[in-house]
Symmetry: C2
Subunit: 400 residues, 2 copies
């Protein structure tokens, strides 16, 4: 441009997601990538989607290709409300907004709830995509202390909670750590949030992916007036249709609908109807167990490889669901430097630092065990283990 473009302050702070940049490298077929959170494509119910496309185009050809309401396709909103009401909670369709992937719900929540400098509570570490979405609205993050059971509710003080616009958490098989909050912690978290008057944003893309099949009550079901809930079809059906939803008390939902109207008018009518057809007749209840079995198996393979190849000075989570393992390397080992060496040997993962809202820990990393086929997990982990041991030895040599 001859013209100097003046960027907004928020855009000046934009940086590309480390994950996305790495994914570009890992598109090369020879790369064994533990980086992306891409569901295994072998789980995609292609015939079901094909059947649903045909049905929608046969039965509602014009309506499925026309503009639709911002709130979403009514029968799909009704399905979501009924699904979330299965365990005794009472969610109304009027509380449901269909979004273009659950990532969009993060953007809408940021728009509607965050002013520059607003306090927002997040886990340590937290989902990178949420930090990216919220950061555009320039909040002041306050990181909540966590351990292997998620948020340490005893450490949440009234001072930390005071004046927060909301608390953001993933109670089920969190991205990036894979950990799940036990029921007692959930109760304690809600008690503190209610006492402080802080709304809780519950992001739940992985809840159905419990390997044992046992699901814990959602925060939404425990305190429907306190919780803004986000769900997704990406991890239980397919991600490429970009379909998610957000559930909120009607008054807030109205604002989210208005923000969505400005953001993209509505989520594609066609994809909403296709997914609605695909999930009829309890399809997900038949489909999800296969995903769980596959992921449980691959998780086991990766944990075995970690035991086999990683030094005892490293620690890692042992998830009971979801898609990720979180590794903490010995103090002083930089996972970004390790990644550079790993990519030279065609193995990739995501360094942990970008998942921290405050005080990034550079000796952490995230491994996904669902995208790479089972037979490549061991060889990829062997490469990583060797590189890590060499790194530790080199550091020891420097220190000595």
């Amino acid at each position: 441009m001859t013209t100097k473009i003046t960027l907004s302050k928020r855009a000046q702070g934009l940086t590309s997601s480390a994950i996305r940049e790495i994914l570009k490298v890992t598109e090369r077929p020879e790369v064994i990538s533990f980086a992306g959170g891409l569901p295994s494509p072998t789980t995609f119910p292609i015939e079901r989607i094909r059947w649903a496309c045909t049905k929608v185009l046969d039965e509602a050809p014009q309506a499925s290709l026309q503009y639709g309401p911002t709130e979403g396709y009514k029968p799909l909103r009704e399905w979501v409300a009924a699904r979330l009401s299965r365990n005794g909670a009472s969610i109304r369709p009027s509380q449901v907004l269909i979004t273009t992937g659950s990532q969009q719900a993060l953007d809408l929540l940021g728009k509607v709830l965050i002013d520059e400098g607003s306090k927002v509570l997040v886990e340590t570490p937290s989902y990178l995509g949420a930090l990216q979405a919220f950061s555009l609205f320039q909040p002041a993050y306050s990181s909540m202390k966590t351990d292997e059971e998620g948020i340490v509710t005893d450490a949440l003080t009234p001072e930390q909670l005071a004046g927060a616009r909301f608390m953001y958490c993933l109670p089920n098989f969190q991205n990036p750590t894979g950990r799940r909050m036990p029921l007692e912690r959930r109760k304690a978290l809600l008690e503190k949030a209610i006492a402080a008057g802080v709304p809780v944003v519950e992001d739940d893309p992985y809840g159905a992916l419990s390997y044992s099949g046992e699901e814990l009550p959602s925060l939404l079901s425990m305190a429907p007036e306190q919780v803004i809930y986000m769900g997704s079809f990406s991890k239980v059906l397919v991600p490429g249709l970009r379909l998610g939803y957000v559930v909120a008390p009607e008054e807030l939902l109205g604002k989210l609908v208005q923000a969505k109207q400005a953001a993209d008018l509505h989520t594609p009518s066609f994809t909403q109807r296709v997914v609605h057809e695909a999930i009829q007749d309890d399809f997900l209840d038949h489909h999800i167990p296969g995903i769980r079995t596959l992921y449980a198996h691959q998780c086991e393979l990766m944990l075995a490889a970690l035991d086999r190849y990683f030094p005892a000075t490293a620690r890692w989570t042992r998830p009971h669901g979801g898609m990720f393992i979180w590794v903490t390397l010995p103090e002083g080992v930089d996972s970004a430097a390790l990644l550079a060496k790993a990519i030279e040997q065609n193995v990739a993962f995501v360094p942990g630092a970008p998942f921290y809202a405050n005080d990034p820990q550079s000796n952490t990393l995230r491994l996904s065990f669902v995208t790479v086929p089972a037979d490549k997990i061991d060889s990829g982990m062997q490469v990583l283990g060797k590189l890590l041991k060499a790194e530790i030895e080199a550091q020891g040599a420097i220190a000595a």
Copy 2:
């Protein structure tokens, strides 16, 4: 909520689109609605879309249902770049970002270019959806003077241009007025924008819908370094797949890509591939003439009905393309009050006031002639004409 939710300042200013609220009323089948900008569903190439869905699921079942790059499906970006380069301009695929409808491009541009209080130049009146999207980022609008040929370039002073983040315009069959800027005006507009160093955002959903088939050069083709261009498949193929694109110099595009990553990761892989298949073999060049013929005919019917039923004291535009006619009622007649009466008689339109960024003119309204079948245009307009004449008489009686 037990909890008092604190909304962001931008959310406090949110109001629902007048159009969307009216559309809810007009969903009743008995309503003759000239309100929505919904393309005629009779133009939807349903068989072509069906064929494209089958082809995509046969040839790329996993890739079309998997996550994809934020920038969009590469062959579709290449198609857009080639299409926009047909008239001699040279647009690179790396300048193209695929968006979830072109509405999303408005949101991304607002995010990346507008700070609170930033000057943004808009037409008088302008597209309501753009005002909604930009307003979330709290700009200070400066309205550019217009006449029947669009922006009055002679009235654009260096003072008005100075410091503007960008100028937003729809040179082709503008929403809401239906007017098109002649070539001389386009040249003058670009000269002034270049001299002042103000980027021009060219929103072009209707450019291909010229009834004569004659298209004027886009601002993008005339000054590719100065212009950010937005296009859409909604008006030339189908709107229900929500597919649009934005073209910008690479440096700005990178920022838009980062903002999109945070907004929805990427536009659905599946819809991108379906549209890409559907438009192969110059499909649009064969398909669009049918849309033009239909819309030209319906425009003619509505203009004839206006001549027949509306009082001589009202004025209206006579579009040569697109979907809308803009009506200016006699001074003092409030189109919102007229709408309330019209809805009682099952006829709808959109009052003009929300299309103004500054100084709303309440005696204006927008008519769409493309959604309602031809045989209902005359009867709907007859109702409106009668109501309007009664309104004018009543006012005269009060004045007398």
